[in-house]
C-alpha cells in the first residue's frame, strides 16, 4: 500500500486477506476515495457485519469502527446516524451479510433513504465459511452446498435497492478501479441512501470451486465479464449471458 494511504490504517494492523482477494483491492480504493475527497477520517464511522468484507474496516481503518452482528450492520448504523447525524457513516460488508441474513434491513434502510453509504463487497458466495451458495451466486455455479450447481436465480442487488427508492445506486467491479473510486466519492457526497454493489472476486473459494484458475486468472475472468452499462445497451440477451453489467443505476439526479 502506498505511503499516503497508510496514514488511514490503524497502527500495527496486518491485512488479513487471501492472495487476489477483491476485498483487499476494495480496502485500498475506499481509502483512495476518502483521501481524494480530503475527508477527515475522524469524522467517519465505519460499520460492518460478519464475514471477510466486514474485516475491511475493522480493525484496519484508523477511525471509529463498529464490527457488529451477522446481517445487522445497517440497523446499528441507522441508530448511530439518527442520533448523531454529524457522523459520516459508511457500512462495508459482504453480500451474504447485507443481502441474505440482512436483506430486510437493506431494503428498509434504502426505503427510508437514510443518509448512509453502503458498500456491498459482493464475492457471490460465503467466503469465510468455505464458499457456500448465497443469494447473489449466479445460477448453475458450484458451491459446497450446491454441488450440482445453484438451482436458483440470484438477486440483482442494484435493481432491488433502486426499486425501493435509494438516492444513489451503482455497481462496479474492483477490476474497474478508477470508475469504482469515482463512484465511492459520489456515494460519500450524496445525501441519502447510497449503495454500491462492488464485485469483489474470491479466488480462494469461488474461483477454486469453479476452476477459474490462479488468483490472477480469477481477477482476469471477472475483468472480462464486467461490461459498462453503455456498452451493454446494444447487446442481445444472448450476448449478455454471463456478463455483469456495471455502472450507475440511480445517481440522485446528478
Amino acid at each position: 500500500m502506498s505511503m499516503d494511504l497508510k496514514q488511514y490504517l490503524r497502527p500495527g494492523v496486518t491485512l488479513p486477506f487471501c492472495p487476489g482477494c477483491g476485498d483487499r483491492i476494495l480496502l485500498r480504493l475506499i481509502l483512495r476515495a476518502i483521501d481524494e475527497l480530503k475527508i477527515n477520517i475522524d469524522d467517519m464511522l465505519f460499520v460492518s457485519g460478519i464475514g471477510c468484507a466486514a474485516w475491511i474496516p475493522s480493525p484496519n481503518f484508523n477511525a471509529d469502527t463498529l464490527h457488529t452482528l451477522h446481517g445487522r450492520a445497517i440497523a446499528f448504523a441507522t441508530g448511530a446516524k439518527m442520533f448523531n447525524p454529524k457522523l459520516k457513516t459508511m457500512v462495508i460488508s459482504g453480500d451474504g451479510d447485507l443481502a441474505d441474513i440482512g436483506g430486510n434491513h437493506l431494503i428498509h434502510a434504502a426505503r427510508r433513504n437514510i443518509d448512509l453509504t453502503v458498500l456491498c463487497a459482493n464475492n457471490m458466495n460465503y467466503g469465510m465459511t468455505g464458499g457456500q451458495v448465497c443469494s447473489t451466486t449466479p445460477k448453475g455455479v458450484r458451491t459446497p452446498t450446491t454441488p450440482g450447481g445453484n438451482p436458483y436465480h440470484p438477486f440483482d442487488l442494484c435493481k432491488l435497492v433502486n426499486a425501493v427508492g435509494a438516492t444513489y445506486v451503482a455497481r462496479y467491479s474492483v477490476t474497474q478501479p478508477s470508475a469504482l473510486v469515482e463512484s465511492i466519492k459520489k456515494a460519500l457526497q450524496i445525501e441519502g441512501f447510497s449503495f454500491i454493489d462492488v464485485i469483489s472476486p474470491c479466488p480462494t473459494q469461488y474461483g477454486r470451486q469453479n476452476r477459474l484458475g490462479t488468483p490472477r486468472e480469477t481477477l482476469k475472468f471477472f475483468e472480462s465479464i464486467c461490461i459498462m452499462r453503455e456498452d451493454a445497451k446494444g447487446l442481445s440477451g444472448e450476448e449478455l449471458e454471463g456478463k455483469i453489467v456495471t455502472g450507475e443505476f440511480s445517481n440522485g439526479g446528478n
Binding site: 490503524r10 475522524d42 469524522d43 464511522l45 460499520v47 475493522s58 480493525p59 484508523n62 477511525a63 471509529d64 469502527t65 463498529l66 464490527h67 457488529t68 452482528l69 445487522r72 440497523a75 446499528f76 448504523a77 441507522t78 441508530g79 448511530a80 446516524k81 439518527m82 442520533f83 448523531n84 447525524p85 454529524k86 457522523l87 430486510n104 434491513h105 428498509h108
Partner: protein, 383 residues
C-alpha cells in the same frame, strides 16, 4: 437533536401526582432519566410505551425510530448508545426472543441499553393481551454464552416509573443491558403516581485515551467514549483486548474478558439488589414473590395476619443478580417458603438453590393474575 450529555429537564413533568398507566409511566421515567433514543416495533402490550415516548420526544427533540423488526430495533439502540445516547426499547415475549443475539452483543461490547419486556403469556404468540411472567430465566440465560445482566421487577405504576430511572442508571454505571421485566397487568393498570422533585441520574464515565474495554481490576467498568470524539473506537462482538483488538483464539484474552463481565456485576450485587420485607420478623411461612403477584400476596398475608397467622413476604425488586443472601437468610428463619409465579416455575429454582427449608411452588400460567384468595388457600394448606 439532543446530544448525549444535554438535558432537557425543563420538559420533564411537574412534580405532582398523575394518573398514568404503567406503560405511560415507563415512557415518562425514561425521559426523566435522559433517554433520547428509542427504537421499537409495535407489539402488545408494550405499544403504548412506544406511542407515548414518540409523542413526548417530539416536544423535546429526541429520536424515535420504528424499525422493521425487534432485531433492527435493538441493534439501532446499541448503535445510538455508542453515538452517545441513552437508548431504550420496549417489547414483549416474541420481540424479546428476537433480540437475544443482540443482547449478547450489548453484553460483550459493554453497551448501556435499557430493554423493557412487558411480559404476556407464551410460549410463542400465546395470548397477546393476557398477563404472564414467563421470561424471567430468558432475561438471564436467553443469549448464548450468557453473562450476568441486571433485571428489575415492579409491582406498581409508581415503581415502573422509578425502576425505569434505576434501569438507566445501572446501565450507565455498569455498562450492561438492563431489563425492566414488566407485566401486562401493571403495564395496563392505571393508578396514581407521583413525579419526585429530584431524580438522581448517573451518566457514563468518559476519559479520553483510556482503554474502553478493560480495567486494571478484574471487576472494573472501563470508561465509554462515543463515536465522533476522536477516540478511533474499535467496537466488536468478537473477544477483544482492552482496546477492542480482536483476540479470537487467545484463551487468556477470553478468560480475562468473561471474568470481568461476570465479576463487574456479581461483585457489586449487594449494591444492585433491592428487595422489600413485609411481616417477616416472626413469620413461620414466607411468600417470596415479584411483580403483580406481590400485590395479591400482600393482600393474602394481611388477611391471614388478621387471623393471627404468622405469615410474611419477601418481594424481589431485583430479579438478576439474584438476591441469594436474602433468600438464605429467610430460609434459615422460616419453616416453609411459598413461591407463586405466573409461569411454570422459574425463580423458584433459584430459591431452592440458596435455602434448605421446604420450598413450595404455585404456578399459574392461564393469562390471569394470581388471585389473592388463591394465595390464601395455598398458605392455609401450608400452615
Amino acid at each position: 437533536m439532543a446530544g448525549a450529555s444535554e438535558r432537557k429537564l425543563e420538559s420533564a413533568l411537574a412534580a405532582i401526582s398523575y394518573y398514568f398507566s404503567g406503560d405511560e409511566a415507563i415512557a415518562e421515567g425514561a425521559i426523566a432519566a435522559g433517554c433520547r433514543y428509542y427504537a421499537g416495533y409495535p407489539i402488545t402490550p408494550a405499544t403504548e410505551i412506544f406511542e407515548t415516548i414518540t409523542s413526548r420526544f417530539r416536544e423535546i427533540g429526541a429520536v424515535s425510530m420504528q424499525m422493521e423488526d425487534e432485531i433492527a430495533s435493538i441493534c439501532s439502540c446499541i448503535g445510538a448508545s455508542w453515538a452517545g445516547a441513552k437508548a431504550m426499547i420496549a417489547t414483549s415475549g416474541p420481540g424479546f426472543s428476537l433480540m437475544q443475539e443482540a443482547i449478547g452483543y450489548a453484553v460483550i461490547t459493554e453497551t448501556p441499553v435499557v430493554i423493557v419486556d412487558v411480559q404476556r403469556t407464551g410460549p410463542s404468540t400465546g395470548q397477546a393481551t393476557r398477563v404472564g411472567s414467563g421470561d424471567i430465566m430468558q432475561a438471564r440465560w436467553g443469549t448464548h454464552g450468557a453473562m450476568p445482566i441486571i433485571a428489575l421487577s415492579a409491582w406498581s405504576v409508581q415503581e415502573l416509573y422509578d425502576q425505569t430511572i434505576d434501569a438507566f442508571n445501572f446501565a450507565e454505571k455498569y455498562r450492561v443491558p438492563v431489563f425492566l421485566m414488566a407485566e401486562e397487568a401493571t403495564a395496563h393498570l392505571r393508578e396514581r403516581m407521583n413525579i419526585p422533585e429530584e431524580i438522581k441520574l448517573f451518566d457514563r464515565e468518559k476519559e479520553a485515551g483510556v482503554a474502553p474495554f478493560g480495567t486494571e481490576e478484574s471487576d472494573g467498568v472501563p470508561p465509554m467514549p462515543a463515536f465522533g470524539e476522536g477516540e478511533k473506537l474499535l467496537v466488536t462482538g468478537s473477544t477483544h483486548d482492552a482496546y477492542g483488538i480482536r483476540k479470537t483464539v487467545d484463551p487468556l484474552a477470553q478468560e480475562k474478558l468473561v471474568t470481568r463481565l461476570h465479576s463487574k456485576i456479581m461483585n457489586n450485587r449487594e449494591k444492585i439488589i433491592e428487595y422489600e420485607e413485609h411481616y417477616l420478623k416472626d413469620a413461620d411461612i414466607a411468600v417470596i414473590c415479584y411483580g403483580f403477584t406481590a400485590r395479591s400476596s400482600l393482600f393474602a398475608i394481611e388477611r391471614l395476619r388478621e387471623e393471627g397467622k404468622k405469615v410474611g413476604m419477601l418481594r424481589l425488586k431485583t430479579l438478576w443478580p439474584f438476591a441469594d443472601r436474602a433468600i438464605s437468610n429467610i430460609g434459615s428463619r422460616v419453616k416453609r417458603i411459598l413461591v407463586p409465579e405466573m409461569n411454570m416455575g422459574q425463580i423458584v429454582g433459584e430459591i431452592v438453590k440458596y435455602t434448605s427449608c421446604e420450598v413450595v411452588p404455585y404456578n399459574q400460567m392461564n393469562g390471569e393474575v394470581i388471585h389473592p384468595h388463591t394465595i390464601i388457600e395455598q398458605l392455609r394448606a401450608l400452615l
